[in-house]
């Protein structure tokens, strides 16, 4: 049976970048961008990605939205897509993206390829959650989300590998959707949030004849990290468990309810706070010794200031630098390439205080030394 590939292009993604506008969210910005003579990036990048799928066109059923939302790009590559839905040519919006995603979910596509930026990823995520596998073609101005492949070509190749089932190197992983508030971005004030996780394919390349094992590696590493943290847990100490999938493993092993996108608090093996905010945290650390446990945002390297603003500069200051436990698998660390870990608490003094070398827990009894910068 042929595999179903969904394609959604946010044609205006990336339009702001070349003209120095940070993002394309909102009609006013879009109009300003057009006035400045901006050209959309997404269609060209989508074509680059689709080229990688041309050799297997007989084996896939390409389903997409009309005109610039996928149809045009597909035809440009000589592909014959099944076109669904309706849009107003030249006037697409986030609503169209979400409508398209809804259709793709209903049709149970095997993979949803989408081109856009962080805003597009959020729109798609709000509809599909973790129900279908998706992969982003990086086209937007803001790419903070790990759901995007490293390049359009890479997205195409990965999609081909995934759909072709030809390589055991392709795994599924949960990748972060990050977005920043565009208003503050344009004002050079960053405030990013972790919106959730999409199920994306990724390639894990290893030595030895292009092959790797099953998915055991990553999960084993996460379990090891969690076991290490739990083995060293002290009594009479509050553990502030940060957001994300790495810290989730700890909560799972402790048998506690986890808030994936929020901060939880554990004390003597019991959950004492679920999805707590800054004020609650400040109150908790006022009376108790505390430790902060955080993961690392993939490809970005942030440990504070992205997706976990609840653990604010004030909280960090009270808890103390020596009580911060940082977790990351070796795979995640290699996605950072040569980049350091980053902090952005909004308080430069705290950021400076946090910078320097730290030992990151990467498995049971395993540490990797990384540098924090700000």
């Amino acid at each position: 049976m042929n595999k179903k590939l969904g394609l959604i292009v946010n044609p205006i993604a990336g339009i702001g970048g070349r003209v120095g506008l940070k993002g394309s969210d909102g009609e006013e910005i879009l109009n300003r961008a057009k006035e400045l003579g901006a050209q959309p990036e997404a269609p060209r990048r989508t074509v680059d990605a689709l080229k990688g799928l041309v050799p297997m066109k007989e084996d896939i059923e390409l389903i997409t939205y009309p005109y610039e939302m996928g149809e045009d790009e597909a035809r440009k590559c000589g592909l014959s897509p099944i076109v669904i839905g309706e849009i107003k040519k030249g006037e697409t919006s986030a609503t169209d993206t979400r409508n398209a995603a809804r259709e793709m979910l209903r049709l149970e596509v095997d993979l949803l390829l989408f081109a856009g930026g962080d805003g597009t990823a959020r729109d798609i995520y709000s509809v599909i959650g973790d129900k279908i596998t998706a992969l982003g073609v990086p086209s937007g101005v803001k790419i903070h989300s790990a759901v995007y492949a490293t390049s359009p070509r890479n997205a195409g190749e990965l999609a081909a590998f995934y759909l072709g089932g030809k390589s055991s190197e392709v795994r599924l992983s949960e990748a972060e959707i990050m977005d920043i508030d565009e208003q503050s971005f344009r004002e050079d004030r960053l405030s990013a949030r972790l919106y959730g996780y999409l199920k994306v394919p990724y390639m894990k390349r290893m030595i030895q004849c292009a092959k790797a094992g099953g998915c055991a590696g990553e999960q084993q590493a996460l379990n090891g990290i969690a076991a290490d943290v739990i083995n060293n847990m002290e009594t009479e100490c509050l553990y502030i468990i940060g957001t994300g999938t790495t810290t989730r493993a700890i909560m799972e092993q402790l048998g506690l309810k986890n808030t994936l996108l929020g901060v939880d608090a554990v004390y003597n093996g019991k959950l004492v706070g679920s999805d707590v905010n800054e004020a609650q945290l400040l109150q908790m650390v006022e009376e108790k010794k505390a430790k902060i446990v955080v993961g690392v945002i993939g490809r970005q390297g942030y440990i504070f200031g992205r997706g976990n603003q609840q653990i604010s500069a004030k909280v960090i200051k009270k808890v103390g630098k020596e009580n911060i436990i940082i977790l990351a698998t070796l795979d995640k660390i290699t996605t950072l390439k040569d980049a350091p870990l980053l902090v952005d608490t909004g308080d430069e003094e705290i950021d400076k205080h946090l910078s320097g070398y730290v030992q990151v827990i990467s498995g049971l009894g395993e540490r990797i030394v990384l540098k924090i910068e700000y």
């Binding site: 050799p55 089932g165 004849c209 292009a210 390439k337 070398y357 730290v358 395993e366 030394v369």
Partner: protein, 522 residues
């Protein structure tokens, strides 16, 4: 740049050889066994009575029955579909694929080596004990260490031996429990991390600086009263020599830790610089890399492990000693860590290393090092001309031994990755190159090493093949991606090999999973 030679037409032999289990017919014999003399048979009587009934084999093992010429032919066919170092230009980096002199092979096959038993009386093995003792002396001189053992039968086993020696040392000082961490770098051989963990240590891994050099500040942040020791390679996997190596060992010593130098590959620094002067307490050499013992289709190797005086008493027992007249096996070593393998190690490798050093002498060893680094830097000049390549890190700096390169640019441009090229190179009769140890910090990596055994023509030919493949990647990427085309077999479906219902690690498992009835051999 000078023009490179033409690439040869090549095709591997393709025998489509059956698995041995499919060969032969019932009743064929490959070799006959010396039957017991009649007098013995008569004396002992019924064979069955010699085995307790419940321990007798009920059904004969389902082995093939193949006559001698056919067994020989089968394995000759297999050998013809295997690129040994001696049959091609083998640039597998970090492995030092050097020439294993044939005269040494003749020596190890003598009964004076092959047909001696490890428990023979010392008096009857004075020859081999002398060889072992003298190679120990040679390696002491080459490294500055004070005592070597050859018991570890491979490089990883030598690093494991080291982790055990570190443990014994700290336990003796009453700090065994406290010092439970070993520090390594991501560009050191992965066995340093693996064997430390097997020996029960927590492992701290240092990431490199942006320019690829080991990060001294990261080391400082990692050492503490919990540090048992440092276990690193230098030059690292990348070929970059760490100029701060002495500072590295000093900061570890200051914290009370020990330092181990993984010198599996020491080819570029023989007679140039030594472990002792860099402050190391222990090191190891792979006799199957630097010292010419053949790699043998992955072993047996030998990890010669040496230590400074203060660690000598912990070496595995026995060690070979010399009283001025006779050589002895000294078992009386109460502080020894015990054994890492039965008996004395892979001694033929010791004999080969001895003969290799005796052929070259002090002058020759330095010549080996100098020629190796000359070769590798000459290679750099040619490789950097090839479209799509990039030598990673530390631009402008010379490398010793291997070099870490990247096809990242080529991959971005064409979609052809290093693994595709690693297969395609076989189509030109060359051994697949070494890419990188895991994880890939450098994208699309490859790591050539041209040790002293290779001629200028060899290197130019190798580069000509890479240039050809680079051209192919730009003009016809599918050709490279679907390779190999001239190898014994085509692209393997690896994904099956990791699935429990598909993998077949023996023929009997294969037949079961294929649903094939085991046919009676006709």
């Amino acid at each position: 740049m000078k023009s490179l030679p033409n690439v040869r037409k090549y095709h591997s032999q393709v025998w489509s050889e059956p698995v041995i289990m499919e060969l032969g017919r019932k009743g064929e014999r490959g070799i006959l066994i010396p039957e017991a003399e009649d007098a013995i048979k008569t004396h002992v009587g019924q064979i069955q009575s010699l085995i307790p009934e419940n321990m007798r084999r009920k059904t004969a093992p389902d082995l093939p029955e193949v006559a001698q010429p056919q067994v020989l032919r089968h394995f000759l066919h297999l050998s013809q579909m295997c690129l040994g170092m001696e049959t091609n230009i083998d640039a597998e980096g970090t492995a030092t694929m050097k020439y294993s002199p044939k005269v040494n092979e003749a020596l190890v096959r003598l009964p004076e080596m092959a047909e001696i038993h490890p428990c023979q009386d010392e008096e009857t093995v004075q020859g081999i004990l002398e060889i072992i003792y003298k190679l120990d002396l040679f390696l002491r001189e080459i490294s500055g260490m004070d005592h070597f053992t050859f018991q570890p039968p491979g490089g990883s086993m030598a690093t494991y031996t080291n982790a055990n020696v570190f443990r014994a040392y700290h336990a003796d000082k009453g700090e065994g429990t406290q010092r439970d961490e070993i520090i390594t770098t991501i560009f050191s051989h992965p066995c340093n991390a693996a064997t430390s963990a097997t020996a029960g240590y927590k492992v701290i891994t240092l990431m490199p600086r942006k320019d690829g050099y080991p990060d001294y500040d990261a080391l400082k942040a990692a050492v503490s009263h919990r540090t048992a020791g440092l276990m690193i390679t230098n030059p690292e996997d990348t070929g970059i020599y760490n100029p701060d190596i002495k500072e590295f060992t000093e900061v570890v010593h200051k914290a009370g830790g020990l330092c181990f130098y993984d010198q599996a590959n020491a080819n570029g620094i023989l007679g140039i610089t030594r472990a002792k002067e860099a402050g190391f307490d222990a090191c190891h050499f792979n006799l199957h890399k630097t010292f010419s013992s053949p790699h043998g289709s992955f072993g047996p190797g030998s990890g010669a492990y040496g230590v400074r005086e203060q660690l000598s008493k912990y070496l595995p027992r026995p060690v070979v000693s010399y009283d001025g007249e006779k050589y002895h096996l000294d078992y009386d070593r109460p502080d020894s860590i015990g054994k890492v393998r039965e008996f004395h190690g892979n001694i033929p490798a010791v004999l080969r290393a001895y003969a290799w050093i005796m052929s070259l002498g002090a002058e020759g060893l330095v010549e080996v090092a100098r020629t190796s680094v000359l070769n590798n830097n000459y290679l750099t000049k040619m490789l950097e001309q090839i479209k799509g390549t990039k030598r990673y890190y530390a631009p402008g700096e010379y490398r010793l031994e291997q070099e870490r390169w990247s096809w990242e640019k080529l991959t971005e441009d064409t979609g052809v990755g290093t693994m595709d090229i690693q297969r395609r190179i076989v189509d030109y009769g060359l051994q697949s190159f070494f890419m990188s140890h895991h994880p890939w910090i450098v994208p699309e990596p490859f790591t050539p090493e041209f040790c002293e055994s290779y001629s200028v023509d060899d290197m130019e030919y190798w580069c000509a093949v890479l240039e050809k493949i680079s051209d192919e990647a730009y003009s016809d990427p599918e050709l490279v991606k679907t390779s190999p085309h001239c190898a014994p077999i085509h692209l393997v479906k690896y994904e099956d090999l990791d699935k429990p219902d598909k993998w077949a690690i023996t023929w009997r498992a294969y037949l079961k999973k294929k649903g094939k009835v085991i046919l009676e051999r006709s």
